[in-house]
Amino acid sequence: MAKKIEVRITSDPQMLSVLRAAITQVGQLAGFAPMEISKIVLAVDEACSNIMRHAYKGKKNQPIIVTCKLKPTKLEIIMHDFGNSVDVEKIRSRKLNDLRPGGLGVHIMKSIMDRVIFKNGTDEGNFLIMQKALPKRQ
């Protein structure tokens, strides 16, 4: 049976450090190496920052639910918000040679995680599902 950890924060950027601390613990529980953990933390931070900036447009008191499922072969992290449905086409990662501030978050998420799935505008809100295979046991 999958282990499940749920973290609920408000959409205040000050909460990002709290979320990072929680995801670090989840990464350790999953058995990832320290550098892999810091990358997974970065992917989740980027996803959460996008929700704060784009779905909630900077409002600080909106809910964000982060559910981590530790399955037999993979870690699955589900980001859930109730903000504006962001057009997935518009949040596709930009070309890296287009040197301008912003637009790097989706590229970072996709580079780090094995699968990144957007399910936006559902009756229950927006979902972002990220999966990464667990490290092989020695």
Binding site: S17, M35, K39, E46, S49, L99, G102
Partner: protein, 114 residues
């Protein structure tokens, strides 16, 4: 975690010392400090990231803006003393090829690019 930013003016450069996580919450403070320097057309800016244990894309975006402002007046802009996980963010976004990144201030000065 709060961010500490110190500006040290040296003979050949201005060192922007940042201490703390640079993320969506704190990157506006870095932006403000950098833009103060670029508005004054500071000829050489070195950003010391030795005490930055974490940086996300909002921090990277802020540094891109600083670099671009500096390029406008043909100033020099470099990053020094990146921790491995911070360097990883630049490598993931392939920005390690865009920025002048040095092991420390001495290397930046010895290299001649700064």
């Amino acid at each position: 975690m709060s961010l500490n930013i110190k500006v040290q003016t040296k003979d050949q450069y201005v060192l922007l010392d940042i201490e703390g996580d640079v993320d969506l919450y704190s990157s506006p403070d870095v932006r403000e400090a950098l833009l103060k320097l670029t508005k004054k057309k500071t000829p050489t800016i070195l950003v010391n990231l030795e005490k930055v244990p974490y940086m996300d894309s909002s921090g990277v975006a802020t540094l891109i803006e600083g670099l671009q402002q500096c390029n406008k007046y043909k100033g020099k802009f470099g990053l020094v003393s990146l921790r491995d996980n911070v360097r990883e963010v630049f490598e993931l976004t392939r920005l390690d090829k865009i920025f002048e990144i040095h092991r420390d201030v001495n290397e930046a000065l010895a290299n001649g690019s700064i």
